[in-house]
Amino acid sequence: MSSELLYPSGDTIVQVHDLHKDYGGVHAVKGLTMSVERSDIHCIIGPNGAGKSTFFKLLMGLERPTSGSIFYKGQDITKQPPFKRARLGLTVKFQNIRVYQDLTVFQNLFIPLRRHHSRSDILGQVTRLLAHMHLDGTENVPVRNLSHGQQQWLSIGMSLAVDPEVLLLDEPTAGMSVEETAETAKIVRNLSAQGITVMVIEHDMEFVRNLNSVTSVLHLGKLFAQGSFASIEANEDVRRIYLGTL
């Protein structure tokens, strides 16, 4: 496939093989096979119901696949519970943000940070993460007082707090203004430059174009097309599935 042409010296970090997920009749993922290279930004697009969010849940272990296997750094993690995958360096920011609504920004970051850092270390780490996520000075703000976009950033920051190698971002720009979306693209590119592999599910094509990365199109639970964003944009078949004629 074209990704192999783009990355001939590929260093695969995540690989799924013939993945199926059947929710009692609803076949959300239907024979998905694909791989993701280390330090890449890998965008995943596709019409509603293509199985994108289910794919992320399977990768994180929040759902068990009906069949198929998932490899992480060459290791079969198909049967590992989510916390073990997280310990291996895989974590996720969910579609519906999922910050701790009753707590402050500091407390939200405290929980993930405490996994790898001593209590005395955490204040410095919080400052570092907040600067990174454009949330400086919000330590004592209750999370529910943040804007939607700020909550998205905080949630990404919480995922980063566990020092992941692979970060799954499910619709990171949902509910963001144009400026915030552009800023998020910068953040994602920055993470990739630091060596973090970022997989992004997005509906905002402007954002995906801006990232200009490897893009996979999912359709009816399968990999439909893969390549640079330009090649995907030029693909007539992809246009057709979005318009619903295929």
Binding site: T91, F94, Y100, R114, R115, S159, A161, V162
Partner: protein
């Protein structure tokens, strides 16, 4: 001296509990002193009843920890209370003659419920049971234990010097065996005895309750407390940070069972009896009412809720069979007006009125 005091108080203060700063601690001291001087002003009978209220408060603390902080609604706290009481009684009846004290029985009253909780918790939480399923399962376990204990009237249900006794409750196996004792602590030649009907027992229970409250504050404001809250707020999200949430749930279930068992131990020692009625639906639900009415997200609120409602319940009993009905009505009213509990809502009101700002979070 001052910095040491601050450091110790700092460990007890934190964003997870209501109240901090000098005003709160002075007020707490006044309340504790109020309880300490209570025996000077009320009758002996009332002192004995107040000992029981404080035992109830301890049971409320156990539910507050698991429900208010970790989001696990257990409808079987009375089961751990009962197991604690029975464990204390059985061990005490057997060892009293040889040891002359109830040291080991007192420990057994906490450890046996914790072991039981570890087994039940492992089954429930490794199976990833949540919410209403945990509530139903814990209640069913309590009812099953009650059913079992009620049919132990047959003399074959004898453990050494202890006869389970079915409906009549735990008693000595033969007339030659000692009766179920109150607390007797022994260390070398020293022996301290706390008769359940005495003022000394009241003070002992008060000390246990105050220590449990302080330990509770320390626990929930520690890093472990944050993890409990992480599980309460969003268990799936917490797991994606690499925490084995099942172990957090099992451990808090055990700690909670230990507190409930301690309460059961004190109860058995207080009345020198323990019987299967404690495993029924009503005692299990009462704990939930105390904690919900007081405020499930704060230990002081849970304690005051338990003491307040227990006191009210005894008052109402004089008027006939309306006690449980009135408490149910109070629960419904509180859920509608102040869903976070009366005490918690009042505390927030006071905080807002005096604009006592939360001290910045310390790490």
């Amino acid at each position: 001296m001052q910095p040491t005091l601050d450091r110790w108080l700092g460990r007890l203060n934190g964003p997870q509990t209501t109240g901090h700063g000098p005003a709160f601690w002075v007020a707490s001291l006044v309340v504790i002193l109020g309880f300490a001087f209570l025996p000077q002003f009320v009758s002996r009978y009332q002192v004995i009843t107040f000992s029981n209220y404080m035992i109830s408060a301890l049971l409320a603390l156990s539910l507050c920890l698991i429900w208010g902080y970790c989001g696990i609604l257990s409808l079987g706290q009375a089961a751990f209370f009962g197991i604690g009481g029975y464990a204390y009684g059985i061990v005490a009846l057997n060892l009293l003659r040889d040891h002359g004290n109830t040291d080991i029985a007192f420990l057994a009253g906490m450890i046996v419920p914790m072991l039981f909780a570890a087994v039940v918790g492992a089954i429930m939480f490794f199976a990833r049971l949540q919410g209403v399923y945990v509530a139903i399962l814990t209640l069913v376990i309590s009812l099953l234990l009650g059913t079992f204990m009620r049919q132990t009237a047959d003399p074959s249900y004898t453990i050494g010097a202890a006869y389970l006794g079915g409906m009549n409750g735990l008693r000595p196996a033969s007339p030659n065996d000692p009766l179920l004792p109150s607390l007797i602590f022994g260390l070398g030649d020293w022996v301290w005895e706390f008769d359940g009907r005495s003022v000394a027992f009241y003070y002992f229970t008060l000390c246990v309750l105050v220590l449990a409250y302080l330990a509770f504050r320390w626990l929930v404001n520690s890093s472990y407390g944050y993890l409990l809250i992480g599980c309460r707020e969003d268990i799936e999200r917490t797991e994606t940070f690499g925490y084995d949430v099942r172990l957090i749930q099992i451990s808090v279930f055990c700690i909670s069972a230990g507190i409930a068992g301690l309460a059961g131990t004190l109860y058995a020692a207080w009345g020198t009896y323990i019987h299967p009625d404690g495993f029924a639906v009503a005692p299990n639900i009462l704990v939930v009412i105390w904690v919900a009415v007081g405020g499930r997200k704060d230990p002081a609120a849970a304690i005051l809720g338990a003491i307040g409602l227990s006191w009210l319940s005894v008052r109402l009993t004089a008027l006939g069979e309306i006690s449980l009905f009135v408490q149910g009505a109070i629960l419904v009213l509180v859920m509608l007006i102040a869903p976070d509990g009366i005490i918690t809502t009042l505390a927030r009101l006071i905080e807002r009125t005096f604009a006592v700002r939360g001290r910045p979070i310390k790490t």
